[in-house]
């Protein structure tokens, strides 16, 4: 070990000596080397000067950019100040601008005239016996004009412009009694323009509103809230032909909320010209212009008043919702009064009901009871009822085109005209009507249905396909 250390020390000392001896030799520079070095130094100086110039240019450029930045900031500040001033000016000018805004808004706020209503076009394929007849049987435009004079007075008028091709050829039905309950059954083509209702309404207070004029009568709810576009089937229940749809007179109506859940009781009392006969007599039936027997009672309300005194009537209703789209409504209504010059009475009583269970299911109906004092048949009791249900297929939440916008509808209605004493005239009619509503939009509906009507007294049944496009506006 000692030997090794000695060798290492010796080697280090030797190398150090050799190194020290060699250094003085490197300091010795020749002329050529000196000139080369001098040249190299000059070149480096030139490079340094070039870099210095570039640096100066960069500095100048930086200064220029700084100047530009300063100008930009100054402009930004000026713009900001201008904007602040504009806001300040605008806020100061607001009180002046408000009346201008109010003036612009005023016509919209006081826009007291509204056009509403509905329109329909209908294709019908009717059959009776072994024949059928298809045609575009109806085009109907029924506008409603609403004019709000002020917060207490409203004028409303509904018109019904109807062009119909009465395609039902009575020869298709071997028995004219099948036409009982319709308003005619005339062949051919007709155009009509009727005033459905026209009233002046005055809101006395929160409980009472006076309605005067040609009124839709609150016998049940169908006339006021179920006909036309609101009806999910294209035609009316047969039993509605036992009642008057409208009449000239005066009415007081209103409602009172019960609690805070939206429930209410409603009422309507009215006096109107009352029931009418078609031919002015008190006979139970009369004839249309093609010789068919039809009921003498006129449900249209558009006849001359043939009785001595107006009739009176009214309705009370109760509505109870337990949450949105879940509710029940029940109503009781009636009318009594003379219906001809003989002082004979026509009286009616109606029980109506409606039930909604979710946005997808509803059912409603009416039971109609009437009494007619007639010359030929004594007191007859025409009566009937109808029940209609609808089920929206959106309930299933199927991701299938068109299905969520489709509703299935079914109605059963029956009517007993109580005129069976007449030979060959149907007394009772029963109708089954399944249908479909396709909601193209919330106001444009395509309705399709099939009707099958059965009669008693050997009268052959009728059937009918109906396709209707209906638009509510």
């Amino acid at each position: 070990m000692k030997k090794l250390m000695k060798r290492i020390v010796f080697t280090v000392v030797t190398l150090s000596f050799v190194g020290l001896c060699s250094v003085p030799r490197s300091w010795a520079v020749t002329d050529d080397e000196f000139q080369a070095l001098q040249k190299e130094v000059q070149e480096q100086n030139q490079q340094i000067q070039a870099l210095a110039q570039e640096h100066q240019q960069d500095q100048a450029e930086i200064q220029t950019l700084k100047d530009q930045q300063g100008q930009t900031e100054q402009k930004t500040e000026e713009i900001k100040q201008t904007a602040d001033k504009a806001v300040e000016v605008a806020s100061q000018a607001q009180p002046v601008a408000q009346p201008v805004s109010a003036e612009v808004k005023a016509p919209v706020e006081s826009h007291n005239f509204v056009l509403a209503g509905d329109a329909e076009v209908q294709y019908t394929d009717q059959g009776g016996g072994n024949k059928s007849h298809g045609s575009y049987g109806l085009a109907d435009f029924a506008p409603i004009f609403l004019y709000r004079a002020n917060d207490k007075i409203l004028f409303e008028a509904g018109f019904d412009t109807n062009i119909s091709n009465n395609s039902f050829d009575t020869t298709l039905s071997p028995n004219p009694g099948a036409n009982i309950g319709t308003s005619g059954g005339n062949n051919g083509y007709s155009t009509s323009f009727n005033l459905s209702f026209a009233t002046i309404d005055y809101l006395f207070n929160d409980y009472a509103t006076l309605v005067a004029g040609e009124m839709l009568l609150p016998l049940g709810t169908y006339s006021e809230r179920g006909a036309g576009w609101l009806n999910k089937l294209a035609d009316d229940p047969m039993s509605r032909s036992l009642l008057i749809g409208s009449g000239v007179g005066a009415q007081v109506r209103g409602s009172k909320a019960i609690g805070d859940n939206g429930s209410m009781v409603t009422y309507a009392v009215y006096t109107a010209n009352g029931g009418h006969t078609i031919d002015g007599t008190s006979y139970a039936t009369t004839y249309d212009n093609t010789g068919n027997s039809i009921q003498n009672f006129d449900p249209s309300g558009n006849r001359t008043n043939m009785n001595r005194t107006p009739s009176e009537g009214g309705r009370v209703g109760w509505f109870y919702p337990w949450k949105p789209h879940y509710d029940i409504e029940l109503g009781l209504s009636g009318q009594t009064g003379e219906w001809n010059t003989d002082g004979k009475l026509w009286q009616a009583g109606v029980i109506d009901g409606a039930l909604h269970l979710s946005p997808y299911f509803e059912t409603k109906g009416e039971y109609i009871y009437t009494r007619e004092q007639t010359t030929d048949l004594g007191t007859i009791i025409p009566q009937g009822w109808w029940l209609q249900s609808g089920f929206k297929l959106g309930f299933f939440n199927w991701d299938v085109p068109m299905i969520p916008s489709t509703e299935l509808v079914f109605r059963y209605d029956t009517v007993n005209y109580d005129i069976g004493g007449l030979t060959g005239v149907a007394k009772i009619a029963r109708r089954f009507e399944p249908g479909i509503v396709y909601y193209i939009t919330n106001t444009l509906w395509l309705k399709g249905s099939y009707e099958k009507t059965f009669y008693n007294d050997g009268v052959p049944s009728d059937n009918e396909w109906i396709l209707q496009l209906s638009y509510g506006f």
Binding site: P107, V108, E109, S110, H111, N112, F113, V114, A116, L146, Y147, R148, D151, L154, E156, D201, L203, F204, N205, D206, Y207, A208, T209, E224, R225, G226, W229, L230, V252, R253, G254, S255, K256, A257, D260, G262, M264, Y267, A268, V269, T271, E312, G314, P321, P324, H325, D327, E329, T336, G337, L345, Q347, A354, H356, P359, Q373, Y439, N442, T443, G472
Partner: protein, 100 residues
């Protein structure tokens, strides 16, 4: 016949009295529950009343379909036609005006 006329007269009397009494009623002032020191109940808002009442007879219309003034006229019409209590009609109108 005599019985029917008696019923008719009674009905006419009732009708006339009903009209008279209703005309004499004072305008109802809506008093909120908390004004009377009673704990407020859950009160339906205009949107809920709109869903409850309007869909009973027809598909619901979008509030944007009409202007404020038109909705005011229509609600006056529906208050009469559908027998809506005025306070409910007012809430529905407020909802429609706020969302059209």
């Amino acid at each position: 016949m005599r019985k029917s006329k008696w019923v008719l007269s009674l009905f006419r009397f009732t009708f006339a009295m009903s009209v008279f009494i209703l005309m004499m009623c004072k305008t109802n002032t809506l008093v909120l529950a908390d004004d009377q020191g009673i704990k407020p109940k859950k009160v339906l808002d205009g949107e809920q009343l709109y869903a409850i009442n309007c869909s009973r007879c027809h598909t619901e219309r979008y509030p944007t379909e009409r202007t404020d003034g038109q909705w005011k006229t229509i609600l006056m019409h529906m208050q009469i036609r559908a027998n809506l209590p005025p306070e409910q009609a007012k809430k529905i109108l407020k909802y429609l005006k706020e969302n059209n």
